[in-house]
Symmetry: C2
Subunit: 191 residues, 2 copies
């Protein structure tokens, strides 16, 4: 299993945002691209991968939406389609246990603390070790959206392994794509 967790610091936890203004919903557009980067291949899905979106915008925060490659159906990679699935998840009443809103898409209350308690994580950080030189890769990678991790979040992840992908600071979805490429190469003996 591979898992990418993206913290959306301003991302709406209400389903009433407009599909015509995803950046205005706390940069939901970026989170949609992260889901596509995590799960979509040119002709198929990455069935061994999950993408968790931690949404921190609004009074109902934190909420976490999980897209599971194993059970998601017909996921087009365009932002509007994925945003529609996010809206549907946010409209579903939920507690602290994941509840399915569409095939392969689930939602729960809770945020980064819950993910860290459940998964063996590493964090993406510009000052981290070059990922190409890392011997053993973790199952779960934590990424931030366009905002840096908050002070509280930095405290939560400070003891995790920290990896860097290259000299340029990428959007979270691009970072996921580069990480997948590194993982693909290792799994199939390309390196």
């Amino acid at each position: 299993m591979k898992r990418f967790v993206v913290v959306g610091h301003l991302a709406s936890t209400e389903p009433d945002f407009s599909l015509n203004n995803l950046p205005g919903a706390g940069r939901i557009d970026e989170l949609c691209r992260c889901v596509a980067a995590s799960l979509c291949l040119s002709h198929g899905m990455r069935r061994d991968t999950e993408c968790l979106l931690v949404l921190l915008g609004g009074p109902k925060a934190p909420k976490t939406i999980r897209f599971s490659g194993e059970s998601v159906r017909s996921l087009s990679p365009d932002e509007r389609n994925i945003a529609g699935l996010i809206k549907k998840a946010l409209a579903l009443p939920c507690g602290i246990v994941f509840r399915e809103s569409s095939p392969g898409v689930s939602v729960r209350k809770g945020g980064l603390a819950e993910v860290l308690a459940e998964c063996g994580c590493a964090v993406l950080d510009e000052g981290g070790d070059d990922v190409r030189g890392v011997e053993t890769m973790p199952e779960t990678f934590i990424l931030s959206d366009h905002q840096d991790f908050s002070e509280e979040e930095r405290g939560m992840v400070q003891d995790l392994p920290a990896y860097s992908l290259g000299p340029s600071v990428l959007h979270a979805d691009m970072a996921i794509t580069v990480l997948h490429n590194e993982l693909d190469r290792r799994e199939s003996g390309w390196i």
Copy 2:
């Protein structure tokens, strides 16, 4: 200069497509993500990069839209924003010389043949050489959208160097992101 050329086999050459249905406009959504992958960094633009979209859908095909990182302004990476710039470019009457429709965005009649005559190109191909082992990288990379190159196109690119990025077949925008990472690392001595 780095340049990514994406062939959109069904992409609309008319400006009347709906921003609410980019996949229905011949997968304009994918081309929008290619522009973002080519030019956008987390906090800034890649000023040394161009993205050329070769649009082959409809009776006005072929048309080519060029996004230039050097002169484009305020390019948000969301699909809807970039699609708006594509619409504006397609609404501008043009000939065989690039004509600017927005700052940093230009359009002309013509397609892949014109690009190949102007640029030193390589092509992305699953059967190509592993890009990590390539000694000298070209300035321009040619990619296809969700469709394979046509027979005619394959004939046009068959003598170009062909590179592969890894064992998984990626969407064109993901391929651009992985290529940029490889180029970034070489330029800054990370490899």
